[in-house]
């Protein structure tokens, strides 16, 4: 189990460093690859153009069978699906996770979620959510109402 974890994360790190998709840079992969920080850059021509954000990935030993815990840290983008505590309302991070997804494809999904925003605003239930939410977004029961954004 853990051998897949190490091999796959090593491979993903190597691929991301050798062949980074546009706007995605791995900063660090620490603690035996269990905690990564990845910088994503807002795409040109979108509301987030020129801004950079840092995503934190935390993997447990069941990765890739279990989703990583992904949150924005430091500078959290203002977006209708991103809570001010950094939690991201994106189905593939929770019950729609698939082991065929990679760190790279998750970052690209988050970037495309940013790109499709038409308005910079927090989710309507942000204040409520950040009061009740646990530290890990994976302990939240997410309801995905809107697949378009």
């Amino acid at each position: 189990m853990s051998s897949i974890f190490t091999k796959r994360l090593t491979k993903e790190l190597r691929d991301l460093q050798a062949n980074p998709p546009m706007g995605i840079t791995v900063q660090t992969a620490e603690d035996d690859l269990k905690c990564w920080r990845v910088t994503v850059r807002g795409a040109e021509g979108t509301l987030y153009e020129g801004e950079t954000f840092v995503l934190q990935f935390k993997f447990n030993n069941n990765y890739p069978l279990e989703s990583p815990e992904v949150v924005f840290v430091d500078n959290v983008p203002i977006h209708p699906h991103i809570y001010s505590n950094g939690h991201i309302c994106l189905s593939i991070l929770y019950d729609q996770w698939s082991p065929a997804l990679t760190i790279s494809s998750v970052c690209l999904s988050i970037l495309s979620m940013l790109s499709s925003a038409t308005k910079k605003e927090r989710p309507p239930d942000n204040a409520m959510y950040i009061l009740t939410a646990k530290k890990s977004p994976k302990s939240t029961t997410w309801a995905f109402h809107d697949d378009s954004v």
Binding site: M1, S3, I4, K7, R8, K11, E12, A18, N19, P20, P21, M22, G23, E44, G45, N62, P64, L65, E66, D95, Q96, W97, S98, P99, A100, T102
Partner: protein
Amino acid sequence: MPQIEETQQNVPTIGTQEQPPTPSRPSSYSFDAASLRQRNAPLREAVGSSTMSATASTASPSESDRDDEGNEFECNICLEMASNPIVTLCGHLFCWPCLHRWMQSRSPSANACPVCKAKVERSKLVPIYARGRQSKDPREEVIPERPTAQRPEAAPSQANRGWDNFFFPGGTIPTGNGITVGFGLFPSLFGLHYTFGVPAHLGSRDRQAQVAQQQAFLSRICMMVGILVMIAILLY
């Protein structure tokens, strides 16, 4: 002159169309460099094989290894060359151990193909039997955790679902056949008993009854005849 202006106007519009990609160049450079290296590899291989066979033979193994890192026979879960490869009906390739773990996981989509979300049934997986791959595979250490014998039982059961645990355990057809024959014949044997055995019993009972009735009838006639003969003798 106006025509020239028009063409001059056209040029800048093409230029502006080209402008958006230019800021992306710094990051796409690395992409291009890597892909160029990959593109060059087969070229070098081709040149080597046409000119110097010795260098080609030394160069090709390392290049094929490099190709393995990004080629089409990677498992979609561990991203390595699939070991104990298995293919879903939707055509996606996995290591059997990897897919098995996914299907056993608590994920709400554990019964879906990780790549395309198509429904995945264990009985409809197709194992791929390549030649010599498995013995070479360094990940064999992981494989024994998952008995490979479980894999073949899935494939032939396309014909008969439900019995797949009995059909080909480990691909041993004789035992499988023995059991299927057993299962196959029992119902028909019962059927035989019911259709033939029971009427036969009823028939014999009828015959016995008929014989008994006939015997009783005959004995009564004999009795009557005897009595009549006795009366006739007594009277005459």
